[in-house]
Amino acid sequence: MTNKTAVVGIGQTKFRSKRRDVNIPEMIYEAVKMALDDAQLEPKDIDAIIIGNMDHFEGINFSELWTGIDAAPGYLKPVVKVATGGTTGSSLAICGYHNIASGIYDKVLVVGWEKLNEGGATTGIITAFDPVWERPSLAGALGPLALMAGMYSAKYGITSEQAAKVTVKNRSNAANNPYAHLQMPDITIDYVMSSQVISYPLRLHDCCPQSEGACALIYANEKEAKKITDTPAWFHAVETAHYYTFGTDDKMYDLPTATIASKKAYKRAGIKNPIKDLDVAEIYEPTSWSELSWTEALGFCKPGEGGKLLDEGITQMSGELPVNPSGGVLSTNPIGATALVRVAEAAIQIMDRGGKRQVPDVEKALAMGFGGSLWTEVMILGNEPLR
């Protein structure tokens, strides 16, 4: 029997391409302070801290020493660092869940951050690839994602226009999210389509930006959560799925890890028809093409129907299952925080605090993390504890 676990406090910075005004701990502190104030908690109330980013991106190992104590109240407390690539934020979210659900702690602080313009994201990502077989040819962020887009398009006849439509949807959603990095209320399909091809078939605006910022969440068990807020966002399921060793072991379309993880999560959370049973989804789409493919892999539609799902308006803000009301990863990508922002947004939607981007009457939300090694983490959150 696991303890019920909820998100009870949320903080995030305004994400930007560069934060030259603050160093790393100063930047993270903004999100941590906001989460503590949001939950009306003092540093002493926090039992443990889980913090994460990717060391290579800023060239700082042992970043938990810099950040878990100066930027988060970790002095004399357990501080653990998590770094799993693109999934860092969702791995953080899941580790936080385990810390509460297991009964070890009552309240934990979960922090993800990245300051991507201090180093080189692609350089960091390359180190995740096999030095002999993959680094000379396929390594990095863009190459594999472009290959996936091309294979997906060839398999199902998805068009560049359909992909461009995802960017238009997400970046116009971002215009309603004061924390999003790229807010483009007037973006058009032509604007996306006329941007430079950077790795065929990916155009510049098919790709996520590099962002700087941090996200902090406070989790509590059932007893504590009710003291803190009237609207906790409860975890119903957390799942992780791994698949391959070399990139080419994966099909590179249909993202099998998303299918495996989501099926398990749906079963655990009692979700039979994701389109009907979920009210909102925050997914980790590093490119416009990946959102179309991931919506299929997550079971929102059949394989090959991601473009149709979008064309029918189902994933729009007014649709049956809005996808990425926050603007998604195409609008904001501070890697170590990116997947945690998905969880934050799922919680915001459940707490009915989304302002202009609020989806009406959210009872169940999905949050997804995706990483460079093509693995997926899926979480389902709800407005009531799962009984």
């Binding site: 934060r19 030259r20 005004d21 603050v22 160093n23 790393i24 701990p25 100063e26 502190y29 540093p43 290579h56 800023e58 060239g59 104590i69 100066d70 930027a71 109240p73 970790g74 002095y75 300051k115 313009n117 201090e118 180093g119 080189g120 350089t123 960091g124 390359i126 180190t127 030095p131 002999v132 680094r135």
Partner: protein, 149 residues
């Protein structure tokens, strides 16, 4: 195949030009040492401790520190080692000392270098004074070194 297969090693080389943002506290400290040859710390509003190097949060109290305190340019050695080997990245020609220094009025120690390479002349508890670079370059070595007084 009877020939022994060569056991090859793949050499990797990754070059990353990192840009570490200084932040307002580092900026103020570096500006003061370079422009005015003054060393500043920050005071915690809760415990009252003065930190050098300055930083935004008192990690013991988790309080934001905003009161800047001028400290004077002298302090006391609390630990040292003498560098005798030369490498291309040395701040001074060896021999010289790396030391922890408690600046007068500060509650934390500060890491810097001392232009003395004779262990017999250095001791914990000895007084030192900052010597500033004539042409500052906006870095911590704008305090060129500390000298024994």
């Amino acid at each position: 195949m009877t020939d022994e297969i060569e056991k090859k090693v793949y050499r990797g080389r990754i070059k990353v030009p990192y840009k570490h943002t200084a932040g307002a506290y580092v900026e103020k400290f570096i500006t003061e040492i370079g422009k005015n040859n003054k060393i500043f710390g920050v005071k915690c509003p809760k415990c009252g401790e003065i930190s050098v190097p300055p930083k935004m949060i008192c990690f013991k109290c988790f309080e934001k520190m905003e009161e800047w305190v001028e400290l004077g340019n002298q302090g006391t050695i609390t630990g040292f080692t003498v560098v005798t080997h030369s490498t291309p990245v040395m701040p001074l020609e060896p021999p010289f000392a790396y030391a922890r220094i408690k600046l007068d009025g500060a509650d934390t120690d500060f890491v810097h270098i001392i232009n003395e390479g004779d262990p017999a002349k250095l001791e914990i508890g000895a007084k030192v004074e900052a010597v500033f670079k004539e042409k500052p370059r906006k870095r911590i070595l704008d305090i060129e070194y500390f000298k024994l007084i």
